[in-house]
């Protein structure tokens, strides 16, 4: 018990709000744990950090976290966060959401936050399904899988969120899973230290609505599957597209620190505007 009480990460939680509402075996708790460990590693000021989410099982995480927190509308967390960051650039702003939240309804905001390179850290709790609404397919559901809205098998094609973020201009991009927690903590910590838009695709498992229907579960088996199919980015570079089929690449994919960051650029706009209106 003493050990638990002395655990350095406890201070990042709102103890009165625990236990959380997630199902037994849900991957989201592991991801939330990774986030606070990374926060601890980096040493963020709890009074100067805002955590913003959309709507979904994953988006319930901020409620458990002892910071200024904002639970917004479905898909729009990045846009709310953009307003917070621009209004008070000195705050650290972290954004969380599910794959439905981030890649479907909020997909447009993702592209444009990447493009602006605004100093936010976004973590997508990616479980390949809509958990909260009980198992409809998401843009991350693999073709052929079952969902309540794909009772005959999903014909949609998923896409690679990391590649999307990189193409859209994110300056820090990485992927890990609820199995690869050490890597996940490392990526989040680096993302937090990064000045610019950082995106972490954090693969999670939803045993309740994805695992069960697709006979992939229980939870531990789903995590073991992550272990089997994930290839570190370095190793993946030496593999052919054929060898990489059905594999998931994990690790740090983009890290370009020297790209102009949006709020800093806006400070320059202010300086120019003042100079021009004075002269």
């Amino acid at each position: 018990m003493a050990e638990v009480q002395n655990n350095p990460i406890l201070k990042y939680f709102r103890a009165s709000k625990l236990p959380h509402i997630w199902c037994p075996g849900c991957g989201h708790g592991i991801l939330m744990g990774a986030l606070v460990r990374a926060i601890d590693k980096v040493g963020l000021d709890q009074d100067r950090t805002v955590i913003v989410s959309g709507i979904g099982c994953s988006s319930r995480a901020p409620g458990y976290l002892n910071f200024d927190t904002l639970h917004t509308t479905h898909g729009r967390a990045l846009a709310f966060a953009t307003g917070i960051k621009l209004a008070r650039p000195e705050l650290k702003v972290i954004v969380l959401g599910g794959d439905g939240d981030i890649a479907a309804i909020g997909g447009n905001h993702l592209i444009h936050a990447c493009r602006r390179n605004i100093d936010l850290l976004l973590i997508c709790f990616n479980n390949s399904i809509y958990g909260m609404t009980s198992g409809q397919y998401s843009p991350m559901t693999p073709t052929g899988r079952l969902a309540t809205t794909a009772p005959y098998g999903n014909i949609d094609r998923p896409f690679d969120l990391c590649q999307l973020a990189a193409a859209a201009g994110a300056t820090y991009v990485g992927r890990a899973t609820s199995y690869h927690v050490t890597l996940l903590i490392e990526l989040i910590a680096k993302g937090l230290k990064h000045k610019g838009f950082a995106f972490i695709d954090a693969l999670s498992q939803c045993p309740t609505y994805y695992g069960r229907r697709n006979k992939l579960g229980p939870s531990v088996k789903m995590m073991e599957w992550f272990k089997e199919v994930c290839i570190p980015v370095g190793a993946a570079k030496k593999m052919t597209p054929e060898q990489l089929r059905d594999k998931i690449v994990i690790g740090e994919m983009v890290n370009t620190p020297d790209v102009p960051e949006y709020t800093e650029e806006y400070e320059k706009v202010k300086a120019r505007a003042k100079e021009m209106s004075a002269g």
């Binding site: 709000k17 709890q46 009074d47 100067r48 805002v50 913003v52 901020p62 409620g63 002892n66 910071f67 200024d68 927190t69 904002l70 639970h71 917004t72 509308t73 729009r76 990045l78 846009a79 709310f80 966060a81 953009t82 307003g83 917070i84 960051k85 621009l86 209004a87 008070r88 000195e90 705050l91 447009n108 905001h109 592209i111 444009h112 806006y266 706009v269 202010k270 120019r272 505007a273 003042k274 209106s277």
Partner: protein, 379 residues
């Protein structure tokens, strides 16, 4: 800086932006749309001069979201749009109602539905303003008729938003938005400017949603060390979600109560020659300019006409309508829609009084002649 104290020529949309900046608006997020775009353009130019921030977001959903985020971080924040964009903002306007985040949303109305007629005036959004976002929520909307009034009213919108912690809609129309006329801007030091009240730090647990000033809570700004939670889910005083039916019901009722209680401070109406009138024109926004002219001409012709112009259209000025118009023979409701406000006037006045709709859609304005003719036709 704009000149104050002297007559200058200004457009309604410009007056909206300058008035907002004068009262401390320092964050604007928007997406271009006719006939509101000049507001965004002027904010892009002016805000950085004043140390504020302008951002053109990827759409209106995100513009509204960014405004709410900025306000939670302490900024006086605004967005401006027109019909199609206003539709897109609705979900996050509701969020601002529920989470009690002060902000001002400008809608410069154009012809709808859908893309309609982008450069032509209409007043088809008056009901959307009231009922556009889902659920039972109160709504406050003010409607200026001139460039000068736009400047003054946007400041009032901010004062109301900050006092009551709720979104306030500045409902303009293309006529007023694009009108250029003479204005005299007041010296900024003479303006009454209200800012949200902040919580006091204390040893007790912080309850961000506990009503402190009447029914209005004292919610902190992010970054001030209170570590509090904000959600659009029904919540209790702690700010955390609740499934307790009584708590949820009380919250919704409190949101209404705080607006109702402020009725006298937020209701503005303009009355002209109603004291001895037999008939009145009820008109708002740009159309009221024609109505004023028509009433003056009717008086010259011996018709005892008057004008009732609500500046606050939501909450609907029921008492004022009953008091001022309740004993008249007839009321002509002139509006650029198919009779949206007429329903409200009829509801308030009941059966005894003839309520005549003078309605136009399709982008043509209602002229003084149109209104005069209607007044002359009243038996």
């Amino acid at each position: 800086m704009v000149k104050t104290g002297k007559g200058i020529l200004m457009q309604g949309n410009e007056a909206c932006a300058e008035g907002a900046i004068a009262c401390g608006m320092r964050f604007f997020a928007g997406y271009p749309i006719t006939p509101s775009t000049e507001i965004a353009e002027l904010c892009a130019l002016r805000l950085p001069q004043e140390g504020g921030v302008f951002i053109q977001m990827e759409d209106e959903l995100s513009s509204m979201a960014a405004v709410v985020g900025a306000s939670l971080a302490g900024a006086k924040a605004m967005t401006a749009t027109s019909g199609p964009g206003f539709s897109l903002k609705q979900e996050n306007i509701g969020f601002a109602c529920m989470a009690e985040v002060p902000c001002v949303v400008v809608n410069v109305q154009r012809v709808g539905p859908s893309t309609g007629m982008p450069t032509s005036p209409a007043q088809g959004d008056v009901m959307q303003v009231r009922w556009g976002t889902h659920g039972d929520h109160p709504m406050i909307a003010l409607c200026p008729w001139s460039v000068q009034e736009t400047y003054n009213i946007v400041i009032r919108c901010f004062n109301i938003a900050e006092t009551l912690r709720t979104p306030v809609i500045l409902l303009m129309d293309e006529i007023v938005g694009h009108l250029r006329e003479k204005v005299v801007l007041p010296d900024p030091s003479t303006l009454t400017i209200v800012s949200r009240r902040k919580p006091q730090k204390s040893s007790l647990p912080y309850l961000p949603y506990k009503p402190v000033y009447g029914d209005v809570p004292a919610i902190a700004d992010y970054g001030d060390g209170f570590r509090f939670h904000v959600t659009g889910l029904s919540h209790d005083y702690t700010g955390f979600p609740t499934n307790d039916a009584n708590v949820a019901a009380e919250e919704i009722k409190r949101l209404h109560r705080k607006v109702q209680a402020a009725r006298n401070e937020i209701t503005f109406v303009h009355k002209y020659r109603l004291e001895d009138a037999e008939i009145a024109v009820f008109a708002y926004g740009g159309v009221a300019r024609s109505a004023m002219e028509a009433v003056m001409r009717a008086r010259e012709q011996g018709i005892r006409a008057g004008l009732f112009r609500p500046i606050t259209i939501w909450p609907f000025p029921e008492e004022e309508v009953r008091q001022s118009l309740g004993a008249l023979k007839a009321v002509v409701v002139a509006e650029l829609n198919l009779g949206q406000m007429r329903l409200e006037v009829e509801r308030c006045l009941g059966k005894g009084i003839e309520v005549i709709g003078l309605n136009r859609v399709g982008g043509q304005i209602i002229t003084p002649d149109d209104i005069l003719e209607t007044l002359r036709g009243v038996k």
